[in-house]
């Protein structure tokens, strides 16, 4: 892609800026390197996805509030979390219905906001794929990651509900993250449990359930002998990385599958400082083998 990339409002969500700041750090850094201007909006709130459980109207209102904040600034939204992406994109779809929009706007009026439509929500990986482009990324690669075998994990809400993503990628047979990984120079690995959910939204209700889902994928990945799993959502990250350690303690397992957030992998390829720019030292599973294969001998 040539020409200037339109600026985006950065939607951090709840968990990234509080519990997985390396995702925010590395995302901001790669965006800067690739000419994606990000605007912070302090008035953004939770996307509302979990509030749907209690009240669908409450969930929709929170999403609409965020859309209206971005619209007021005349910006499209760039998300980091897959679930925020799905929730906001689905809200845009629901608010295309005139009656729904009128009802929601009557409530938004109470806080001085209005949503009229016309803004878009894109996950950072989609912005990298569509606005920056694979060729452009390849041209900027400075480190050789060709020795890395990388398993992608898309995150359910990144592409579903399918109707909210206007034909971008195929939820049943997704390719775009594989292609982005290839663009960094690393080798994407195909594996059986590619589309298995991380269980993040069940975790607060049943840890046991989430652990079953996580272990199924970790077993598969351990067997595949990959160098790292790459995720593009902080909830998926917390499930596969933080809970991997909990599972090891709890069930006396010895999983050691490194987990990177995609901007961390891309940042490595672009020559970023592993600690200062990408926050790799905040990841809990040992990364020294991976860094060694990337030609980095630095201790984290």
């Amino acid at each position: 892609m040539s020409g200037r990339i339109t600026p985006y409002a950065l939607f951090l969500g709840c968990t990234t800026p509080t519990q997985v700041i390396q995702y925010e750090l590395s995302s901001r850094w790669v965006c800067e390197q690739l000419g994606i201007e990000l605007v912070d909006i302090n008035d953004f709130v939770c996307c509302g996805i979990n509030q749907i459980n209690l009240s669908r109207e409450a969930g929709l209102l929170l999403a609409a509030m965020n859309l209206a904040q971005a619209e007021r600034k005349g910006l499209d939204i760039l998300t980091l979390c897959a679930a925020c992406t799905g929730a906001l994109a689905e809200a845009i779809e629901q608010l295309k219905d005139q009656a729904t929009r009128t009802r929601v706007n009557r409530k938004l009026q109470a806080i001085g906001l209005e949503y009229t439509g016309g803004i878009r929500v894109k996950h950072i990986s989609r912005v990298l794929y569509e606005d920056v482009g694979l060729d452009s990324i390849e041209q900027k690669v400075q480190r050789d990651l060709s020795k890395l075998q990388v398993a992608p994990h898309y995150g359910c809400h990144y592409l579903m509900p399918e109707s909210a993503f206007d034909g971008f990628d195929d939820p049943d047979n997704p390719k775009t993250l594989h292609q982005l990984i290839s663009a960094t120079g690393a080798c994407p690995v195909q594996y059986e449990t590619l589309n298995l959910c991380c269980g993040g939204k069940s975790f607060p209700i049943s840890r046991e359930l989430a652990f079953s889902l996580i272990q199924t994928k970790l077993d598969n990945l351990t067997h595949k002998k990959i160098d790292t799993l790459v995720v593009q959502c902080q909830t998926c990250y917390l499930m596969y990385e933080d809970q991997q350690k909990v599972i090891n303690r709890h069930y006396r397992k010895d999983y050691s599958v490194p987990v990177l957030l995609f901007p961390q992998l891309l940042g490595l390829a672009l020559g970023g400082d592993p600690k200062k720019d990408l926050g790799l030292h905040l990841n809990g599973i040992a990364l020294h083998n991976l860094l060694f294969k990337a030609g980095l001998h630095a201790r984290l």
Partner: protein
Amino acid sequence: MSQNNKSKEPIHISNLDVKFRLEVTSHQEASALNACFSCGTCTAGCPISEFFPEYSPKKLAKMVKLGMRQSVLRNPFIWYCTTCRSCDQHCPQNVKFFNILNVLKNMAVKEGYAPSPWVEQTRQIMKTGLVVPQDEHLAEKRADFSLPALKNDGIQAKKLLELTGIDKIIKAGNER
């Protein structure tokens, strides 16, 4: 797959609420339940059903159709869904079970079954706009990495949420 022994008990017609199905399908996003022909594609692809056969979208849909109101709304498994949308994605009838489940959860909440994690999160949004609590340690950590301070006070979100009556659910503390 293990069988739920309770399913072998006969269903007593006198215990069924014939209006339940109409109540559910009166919500526009759940109206497609009428198109369900119980093929079970939703359940075949459901990652939750794989590990917890007690959770079955197909079975829940059938129970709603039969009018098993209390068995559905008091069923703890309706909260197990991980929202992956696989059921919606693969349904040949475009039933959108995820939407039906949300309608059911919202009805259960009104009857006093609101799981505490979701109640707590909503309470937190009203304080800071986000579901995760923040402390000084986080503010320092963010500053160390030159990340901008988080400034939302949650006032707008609180005002908006109060318009939906969700605050009353929280106050009532109707936790299971």
